[in-house]
Every structure is written in structure tokens, then in C-alpha cells.
Subunit: 686 residues, 2 copies
């Protein structure tokens, strides 16, 4: 079975390589387009290089700390825990970094090829964008599989191994947190900076080449969405693999090694399903590209379900029916998350319409309505999560096997994440088409080409929203899986529950929820601070050289890119450090049970806050776009101005704080799981 | 001891009566002032009458449901649980109603007397406003004491009695929820309605008599703040009394009946302290009235601490030192809450300054910064709550008595609430002075009088923010107290903890947090809907009679009052019903442990959300006021316009959703406690 896993992950990597070749083979369009594309590529490279240098330093420090800590306080249950965890951590960090880097590498090269492809046909452009996105999707999933399976084999391949490779997931979430924070701050600071001076003060349109921050803005799409979300989902799949393997240990008496390896095998089938799904997507000129993408998604989901059935039949023997059903619950839940997100963020439905309507009475009512929509939007996803957990637990427990119920919830999570590669492909589709549109706009290509890229761009906005819903849902389920793993570990020390009615444990929970609020505050504020630097630079450039506005001299794009980079890297430190230190302090000062409560209540609050921020942001954005189609007075009207305020408010919500919270949730889980044996050494005061 | 309690509560009621006489004896000013004051009084009466009719019907329905439910499923541990709980519920509901009504009765009469008093001296006006506010403050505290002590005596006066009077607290929170929701929706809908048409569309100043919604706006201050917050704190003190008595039962072996009666005796001393505090307040013409109010508060706090020491010395014998210290922790915490609130909402400190500064770049940055401030503001209060709980638990547990620690947290809560009457007096001070200012403005009195009422009004805004901080802090502590009571009850059925790691219990917590988000969404949206009706009516009036704008004909104030009343009553139903039905569904479908988790995680989220909404709203408001003093371009500048957007967004946050969440938190507690024996009959699915 391990051979199958290795085989499929290597196949996945090869296929990603094949897709890269496909993308690079495409035409790179006209020279004036290449100038812009080159600038984006250089800017993105410069940011990635500096960001990864910073993250690498932080990672090495943490790895050394882990090693030293566990050398002083060795974990009695696991031999060599110190160096194995440190090595796993570094491996996870490196893989997460590679996933982000390669995603970026391809997307900044795919953008111009999509732009050029749009000159041939919509189908061509769509295929390049999706396949370019799929490189990172496949890479993420295959690499997380390879990493987990590799470390598992390396560290003994027996039933004590999974906990020793939790460090892999922690390393991945550590890097993902900073990648998402840094990228998220960069993208929105550049966006806000470019808009405030360009659109508002100077009155020039979006993506105008005269704006010195325009390249930084296009770079931001790549570093925020591609690199950030890639690291995020890499982390989800790695954490879920390991969490499920740890639960598999609890079922060792029933399934033997099969229970531990099942998550990896199921994931392998998911990779194959996603490859097929990506390759069948095609689109006629008069078709809605979203329909084409959805078709691919449904094919992937059905194939994943079949693969799931095969994996359970092969490995879980007499209980295959129950666990196939549990997996199906997860797949259905992932589809439901997408639908719910669309319901709340698309202009066809009442939420976005109500925001657009409220914009008629000004910015204040636009904000109030959007915020109320965001608050409301947590309801349905919570119902889906609850039903998925209860349903899969119940089905799992009908097996009559000890821990069968909780394994059912693990299988549902695997089901949900089985389409991860395809989802990521759709997600990366967004920034690639966004960039393609920008290149077409800035190089002043004909109107009909622009219309094509605009259509793709609109679809990209939908898929970005969809995948955010998916990411937060899967984060919730993966976190629940990791709770169970955490409970397994503290159970060995005689702590059998997280009793919220104890004052210390209650306070742990209270602090967990509080960190979510504070983290969101810092992330949102970081955008403002970084944007401030950019605004100053753009103003300075316009002032220093009047020729920029007249179009006679070229603005200094690199300067804005440089300032955005420095600002984002500086501002990502504080929220990141908060997220890592508080759970450690709680665990050490209040003990393992309070840390568990911190983790669980923090997760609950984190999921809800992420949904609130993502949805409100997405709904404001689309309300503005809806008005721009000519509703309620259209572009330039007072209603539109009010809607622009909402859109700007929503930017740091949906692209910085919200996505960072997905990672935060899982960071809490992997961090506490790595440090649990340390927490157990400190007895709570009472 | 019970005699002392009865004596002091009756003395408190008599003193409230004496203060009412004092207020009514004052001069009612000029005829043109009386016209306005009469209109406010009539509007408030009309609203209260209709609101209370609605609430009375709902209350009777719930009382009957409780009676029928517990007649069918009797509570085995307590004889006559059905009718005793139903009677307690009705008693609590009626008392809560009276508290709100009398508070209103006095405040709509005090307003004109304060306006008239300002013509004599600042001291006179200050005294009338504070003493008018103290009527409701004393009434609330004395009546909750009398109600609890009375029912306790009536229902047997032994150690099984406290649980049978939980219905009193439930009745109080039930009425408080609707009073706060209805009042909160009314006040902001009228405010938004008056401002949007008056200030924005017609360009007439605030409190201009030509605006048809101006009287509705002034009525709103009374029904939202006086009636709402009165019911809120009535409920807090009642719930805290009963919760502490239930914990006292657990200490019956140590303290006997003294442990059960201690909360009532400690509260009695608090009433006396508050009376003295109110009576010593005086203010020279050149003094800051806030200093005068603070002096009264500190005197009250010191006297309450001394009284607390006396009560513990008399009743808790050899452990009096420990429990006096626990009480002091509560008193210190209440002062800390006030200071923190001021730090985040006053223009002297960096938060409000940062919002004002951000307004320079427009409404979007104003909103983002304000929201970030709100998110950040949860940090310090959570630290205070955590330290207060840990500290008082630790001190209590040094007694070595079983349950001594948890009783320590109860005593800290009593300490915190010992100054409740004074706090409420300061809170009601706000709407009274606000109204006084409105009357002076509308009746066109001389400039120097207006300056005096403006100074008092500014102080009123500070005290309103202070008491909101206090209300949410005390709600958190009171809720924690009620958790312990809940645990006592489910402990009898063998459930010894709320284990968050069980799927069903985790889902209970998830749903608790979700209801907080949904409730906030509905409350915020209700304001928009009700405001919409008012806007339409104001526009209609301006259109139908051109003389209104010219000042030649009088607008139809009553029509706006009527529409605001109907709108608020209609819109308060949905959030109220959500708040009551979901916990019941969770308890019945998922069992008592999941209901406990719903309660606790819901409380955590509710506290944080209330802090976020209150602080963001208050900070936006004061950032606008700060700019109006001439900073960043002053009134009429673009910066000011941006700040007005933030202020408007903050209105439903801080005056509708935020304060309603205080009540929601306690409603969860009293509701689950009343229904706990029912929940125990339903076994969870797994």
C-alpha cells in the first residue's frame, strides 16, 4: 500500500511537471505585454525571496527551540522525539515553501500566456489558466502525501510513528501562517495604495500604467492568493493526513496498519480524480466558463467518491460501506460549502442585492448591511459542519468498533479534502486570469480580447470565493480531527476530557477566542500601515515627476514593489508572534486541559470570524460590481461611491485577516499537538 | 439576617420614593420647554404601554409553557417545581417591567427639571440628573433584593429553595431581553431616521424642531438607555443573587444558612453605600462634572468594600479575611472595566485619535480602523476577567473548604455588583442630560444655558460608555456564577463536566457561538428596517407640508413616534425568539452537557462580541466629536463627513446589538438553569 502511495504521489509530481511544460510551451504574446509580465515576475520574485529569507530564519529558530526543549524535557513515550520533531518541522516548512514558490513560479508565467491565449480562443485561455493553477494544486497535494509517507517510512513505519511526524504539519502551518499573512498584507496594501492615490486622488482608472503602484498591485494578486492559499491548503492536507493516521492508531486492534495507511491511500485516489477533472475541462466560445469549471469539479467529486469506495473496500474490509458513506458526507459537505458561499456573495441572491440597495442611502448603510450579512452567513456553514460531524460520527459508531465514531469523522474530513487538488487549481485560476486581464488592459489590447479576459476574471472572482468557503470548512473539520489526536495524547496522562466548567479551563477557552479577535485586529491594521507607506511613495512619485501623469515618463514601479515588500514583511511579524506565543503560554501556565480548551474555543471563534470576514468582504466587493453593471445609478453615482467604501473595507477582511484565520486555526492544533507532552509536565495551579 | 435584608430593601425603595419627590418638586421651567418635555413624555408612555403589552403577552405564554412542561415532566428533586417556577417567572417579569417603567417615569420628568436647573447653577442641574437617575438605580437593586428574599421566604426558606426561584431571574432576563432589544431598535431607528433626512437631505441641524422625527429621537434616548439598561442590570443583580445562593447550598455543611443568605446581606450594604455616594455628589460652577461623579463613585466603592468586610465578618466567620479579599477583587475589577472602557473610547487616548486620523483618507479607513480598535479592545477586559476569576478562586480555595474556590468567584461577583445602584444612577444620568440639552436647544434658550447642558451631556456620554463596560464585565462574572449553579444541578444526574472533546458537546459550543453572531446580525438589521419606515414618514411629511421647513407649521411628531414604536416592536420579535428557542432545541436534541457547552461558549463569544460592538461604536462616536472640536479640519470638512459614516455605523453596534448581547448572555444562563431538569430527561444520541 505504501508503494501505491509513493507511486501516485510521484505520478502527481510528474504530472505537475508535465503541466508546467504545457504552460511554458504556450505563446507569450506581444512585446508590450511581455514588458508588463516581466515586471510582475520580477516583483513577485523579489518579494518571495525576501519573505522566504525571513520565514527561513524564523523556522530555523523554532526548529532549534523544539530540539533544545525536547532534549531538556524528553518525551518519555517516544524515543528520539526531539530530533525527529525538529527534522519533521523543517521538512514541513521546506515543502510548504516549495509549494508556495512553485505555485507563484507558474502563475506569474501563466498570466501572459493566458492573455495571449485569449487572442486565439476562450477555450485556450481557460485551459492555460486552469492547468497553470493545477500545477500548484497537484504539487501541494502530492508533496504533502510524499512528505508524510516518506517521514512515516523513515521514522520506523509503525504505530508510534504518526505522532513523531506532527512536526511536519506544524512546520507547514508555521510557514503557511507567515506566507498568508505576508502575502495578504502585501496584496491589500498595494491594492489600497494604488486605488487611493490613483483612482480617488488622481482620477485615473484601475490598472492604468501611469500609476506607480500598479505593478505592485498585480504582484500582490500572486503572492496573496497563489502563494498564500497554496501554503494554507498544503497545511490542511498534511495536518489531516497525520491527524487521521493518529486516529488510525486507536483502531490498530481492528484494522492493523491499514487503519493508519488508509488516509494516504484515499488521498492517492483523490489526486488521480483531480488530474482527470482538470484535463477534461473545455469551453466553447459562447459558454459560461464557470459551467466548464463546475463540470470538471463534479467529475472530480464523483471520481473521488468512487476512489474512496475502492480504498475503503480494499483496506477497511467489512466496514467499507459505513466508511464510504462517511467519506461521501465529507464530499457532499465540500460541495455544500461552495454553494453557501455563492449564495452569500453572488449578486444573483438577496444578500448582495440588499447591500447594493442599502448603498443608495450612503456608505454607512452599505457597511451596516454588509456587516449584518457577514454575521448572518455563519449560520448555514455551521449547520453543515454540525451535520457532517454528527452524521459521520454516527455512521462510524454503527460499526460497533471502539473509536469507530471518531474515525468516522476523520474519514469525512478525508472525503472533504479528496478534491483539494482540483479546488486549488480553481483557486489559482483567479489570480492568473486577474493578471491576464491587467496585462491586456495595461498594454492597451483590442476591446474584444479584453472582454474575454474580463469574463475569465469574473469567473476567477467566483472561484476565489468558493475556495475560501472550502478552505474554512476543511480547516474546521481538520481541526476537529486534530482535537481527537490531542485527546489521545493527553488521555495517556489521565486527562480524559476538556471540562469547560473548571475555571482554569474556561479561562483557556476565553483566551483562545480572544486571540482570534486580537489576531484579526492586528492583521487588519497591518494592511493600513503597509498601505500608508505605499501611498506616500506614490504621492512622492507623482509630485517629483509631472511627466508620469502626462504619460511621457515611466513611473518607478520597482520602488513601490520594494516598499510594499518591506512593509508587508515588517507588519506580518506581530500577529504571527501573537498566534504562536499565546497558546504556548496558556499551555505552560494553565496546563494541557486549558490548552485544549484554548484550542477548541479558539477554533470555534476562528471559524466564525473567518466566515464573517470572508463573506462580508466578498459580498461588499460583488455589491460594488453589481452596481457597476448599471444598477442603482451605475458607475460614478453616489450609490457607487458608497459601495466603493464597502469594497475597500472588505479588502483586508477577505484577503488578509480571513484567510490568515484559516491557517491560525490549524496552527493552534498542530502547535498544541507538538507541545502536548511539554504542557503535561506543568501541572495547572488548581 | 433576613429581617436586615427586608429592612434595607424597603429603606432603598423609600429612598427612591424620596428622590422621586425631590425631583418632582423642582421647577419645570418655561412654557415653551414644557411643550417639548410633554411631547417626549407622551411618546415614551405610548411606547412603553405598547411594548409592555407585547412583552406581557409573551411572558404569560412562557409562564404557562413552563407550568405545563413541568406538570407533565415533574422535577423529581423539587416538589411543586412547576407552579413555583411559573410564579417566580411572572414575579421576575413584573419586577423587571416595573423597574424599567419607573426609571422611564422619572427620567422623562427629570429632563425638563435639569434643563430648568441649569438656569440656576451647574450644581443644581447635576444633582437633579443624578438623583433622577438614582431612583431607577435604587429601585432596581432594592426590588431585586426584595423579590429574591421574598420568594425565598415564601417558598420555604431552606436549602432547596434557591433553585425554585431561578424562574425569577429567568423572568427578569426574558423581559430585559425584549426591553433592551425594543428600546435599542427604537432609539437608533429614530436617530438614524432623524439624521438621514434632517441633517443629510435637508441640511437642518440636530434637535431642530422642524424635523418630524426629533421627538421620536429624544424619546428613544429614554426607552433605549433608561428602560433597557435598567432591566439589564435588574436582571444581573437578580441572577447573581440567586446564583450565589445556589452555590451557598454547596457550602451548607460549613456555613449553614449563612452561606445562602450572605449574598443578600452583602447586597444590602451595597445599597446603603450607593445612597451615600449619590447624596454627597456636588459640583462647583468651574469644576468638571465628571470629577464630581467620580468622587461619588469612589466613595461608594470604598463604603461598599467596608460593608463587604462587615458582612463577611458577621456571616462567614473564620474565613472572613479570604472572602473580603475576594469581594475586593470584584470591586477593583469593576473600577478596572470603567478605566479600560474610557481608554478605548475617549479622544484623549490613542484609539480614538487613530480613528480620527484615519478619517482623513476617507470613510473606508475610518471604518477599518474603528473595527480594528473594537477587535483589539477585547484584550484587556479578558485579562481582567481572567485574573478576577483565578484570583478569587485561588483565595477562596485557601480556606480549604470543599467548593470554597468556586464560592470565592461568587463573592467576587457580589463585590463587582455591590456598586450597581450607583452605576445605574450614572447610566441614567446620560439620557436625562441628553434630553435636557435637547429641550434647551429646541426651545431656543440662551447660549450660556446651552453650554452648561452641553457639558453635562458630554459627561453623560462618558458615563454611558463606562456603564456599558461595567454591564458586560458583570454579565461575564454573573454568567460564570450561573455556570457553577448549572453544574451543581447536572452533577446530581451524574454529569460531572462539560467535555468539549465530545462531538455532541463541541457542536453545542459551536452553536452557542453561532447564535451570538446571528442574534447580532438580526439586531443590527432590525435598526435598518425600522429606520426605513421612519425615513419614509419624515420624507412624506416634508413633501406634504412645505410649511414645516419654513417653520410656519408644526410637524406631526406623534406620527413618527407611532411608526418608530410599531417598527421597533415588530423587529424585536425575531432576534428574541431566536435567542430563546435555539438553546431549548440544543438542550432537548443534544442533552444537558451540550446545552452547558452552548451556554459557556455562547457566553465567551457573547462577551467578546459585545465588547467589540460597544467599543467600536463608542470610539467612532467620539472620533467624530473630537473632529467637531476643530481637529483635522473640523465640522463640515471631508474628514468630518468620513467620521459621520463611522458614527452612524456604530449606532446600532453600541446601542442596539451590544447592550442586547449583555442580556442574551444571562438569558442563556437563566434559561438553561430553569430547564436543566428537562434537558436531563433527554439522553444525547451518543
Amino acid at each position: 500500500m505504501l508503494l501505491l502511495v509513493f507511486g501516485v504521489s510521484i505520478f502527481g509530481l510528474l504530472f505537475a511537471f508535465f503541466l508546467t511544460k504545457y504552460v511554458l510551451r504556450q505563446d507569450t504574446g506581444k512585446p508590450e505585454m511581455r514588458v508588463i509580465s516581466d515586471a510582475i515576475r520580477e516583483g513577485a520574485n523579489a518579494f518571495m525571496k525576501r519573505q522566504y529569507t525571513t520565514i527561513a530564519v524564523l523556522s530555523v529558530v523554532v526548529a532549534i527551540l523544539i530540539f533544545v526543549l525536547y532534549s531538556i524535557f524528553p518525551n518519555a513515550d517516544y524515543p528520539d522525539y526531539a530530533w525527529k520533531t525538529a527534522v519533521s518541522f523543517i521538512a514541513g516548512a521546506v515543502c510548504s515553501g516549495i509549494a508556495g514558490f512553485v505555485g507563484m513560479y507558474v502563475s506569474v508565467r501563466a498570466n501572459i500566456r493566458v492573455a495571449s491565449g485569449a487572442m486565439t480562443s476562450l477555450d485556450k485561455a481557460l485551459k492555460i489558466a486552469l492547468r497553470g493553477g493545477a500545477v500548484s494544486g497537484l504539487l501541494v497535494v502530492a508533496m504533502s502525501l510524499l512528505g508524510v509517507a516518506g517521514l512515516f517510512t523513515l521514522f520506523g513505519g509503525n504505530e508510534t510513528t504518526p505522532l513523531m511526524i506532527v512536526g511536519f504539519a506544524f512546520g507547514a502551518s508555521f510557514v503557511a501562517l507567515f506566507a498568508q499573512l505576508g502575502g495578504g498584507i502585501y496584496t491589500k496594501a498595494a491594492d489600497v495604495g494604488a486605488d487611493l492615490v490613483g483612482k480617488v486622488e488622481k482620477g485615473i482608472p484601475e490598472d492604468d500604467p501611469r500609476n506607480p503602484a500598479v505593478i505592485a498591485d498585480l504582484v500582490g494578486d500572486n503572492v496573496g492568493d497563489c502563494a498564500g492559499r497554496g501554503a494554507d491548503l498544503f497545511e490542511s492536507t498534511a495536518a489531516e493526513n497525520i491527524g487521521a493516521m493518529i486516529l488510525g492508531i486507536a483502531l490498530f486492534p481492528v484494522f492493523g496498519m491499514n487503519g493508519i495507511l488508509f488516509p494516504l491511500v484515499a488521498r492517492s485516489f483523490g489526486i488521480i480524480a483531480s488530474i482527470i477533472g482538470v484535463m477534461i475541462v473545455k469551453c466553447r466560445e459562447d459558454q459560461d466558463p464557470m459551467d466548464a469549471l463546475n463540470r470538471g469539479y463534479y467529475v472530480t467529486a464523483v471520481l473521488a467518491a468512487i476512489g474512496f469506495g475502492a480504498a475503503t473496500y480494499l483496506m477497511l474490509k467489512e466496514f467499507w460501506v459505513q466508511y464510504t458513506l462517511a467519506g461521501l458526507i465529507g464530499i457532499v459537505a465540500s460541495v455544500a460549502f461552495g454553494q453557501i458561499t455563492q449564495y452569500y456573495t453572488e449578486h444573483r441572491y438577496r444578500s448582495v442585492k440588499s447591500i447594493a440597495e442599502a448603498s443608495q442611502t450612503g456608505a454607512a448603510t452599505n457597511i451596516i448591511t454588509g456587516f449584518a450579512v457577514g454575521l448572518e452567513s455563519v449560520g448555514l456553514p455551521v449547520i453543515v459542519i454540525s451535520l457532517a460531524l454528527i452524521g459521520s460520527y454516527w455512521i462510524g459508531s454503527t460499526t460497533g468498533v471502539a473509536n469507530g465514531g471518531i474515525f468516522g469523522t476523520a474519514v469525512a474530513t478525508m472525503g472533504m479534502l479528496s478534491t483539494a487538488a482540483y479546488i486549488l487549481a480553481m483557486d489559482n485560476f483567479g489570480p492568473i486570469t486577474d493578471n491576464a486581464g491587467g496585462i491586456i488592459e495595461m498594454s492597451k489590447q483590442p476591446e474584444e480580447i479584453r472582454k474575454k479576459t474580463d469574463r475569465l476574471d469574473a469567473v476567477g472572482n467566483t472561484t476565489k470565493a468558493l475556495t475560501k468557503g472550502y478552505a474554512v470548512g476543511s480547516a474546521a473539520l481538520a481541526a476537529f480531527l486534530l482535537f481527537s489526536a490531542y485527546m489521545e495524547e493527553i488521555g495517556k496522562a489521565g486527562i480524559t476530557g476538556i471540562d469547560l466548567s473548571k475555571p482554569i479551563v474556561f479561562i483557556g477557552g476565553l483566551l483562545g477566542a480572544t486571540v482570534v479577535f486580537l489576531f484579526s485586529s492586528l492583521a487588519i491594521r497591518a494592511v493600513g500601515k503597509a498601505a500608508y507607506y505605499i501611498i506616500n511613495d506614490v504621492r512622492r512619485q507623482f509630485k517629483a515627476d509631472k511627466g508620469i501623469m502626462e504619460g511621457t515618463s515611466k513611473p518607478d514601479y520597482a520602488s513601490c514593489v520594494d516598499i510594499a515588500t518591506k512593509g508587508a514583511l515588517k507588519e506580518m511579524i506581530l500577529p504571527g508572534v501573537l498566534a504562536i506565543t499565546v497558546p504556548i503560554l496558556v499551555g505552560v501556565a494553565l496546563g494541557a486541559e486549558a490548552a485544549g480548551s484554548f484550542l477548541m474555543v479558539g477554533t470555534i471563534c476562528g471559524v466564525l470570524m473567518a466566515l464573517l470576514l470572508n463573506t462580508a468582504g466578498g459580498a461588499w466587493d460583488n455589491a460594488k460590481k453589481f452596481i457597476e453593471t448599471g444598477e442603482y445609478g451605475g458607475k460614478g453615482s453616489d450609490t457607487h461611491k458608497a459601495a466603493v467604501v464597502g469594497d475597500t473595507v472588505g479588502d483586508p477582511f477577505k484577503d488578509t485577516a480571513g484567510p490568515s484565520l484559516h491557517v491560525l486555526i490549524k496552527l493552534f492544533s498542530t502547535l498544541t499537538l507538538v507541545l502536548v507532552s511539554l504542557f503535561l509536565m506543568f501541572k495547572p495551579p488548581f
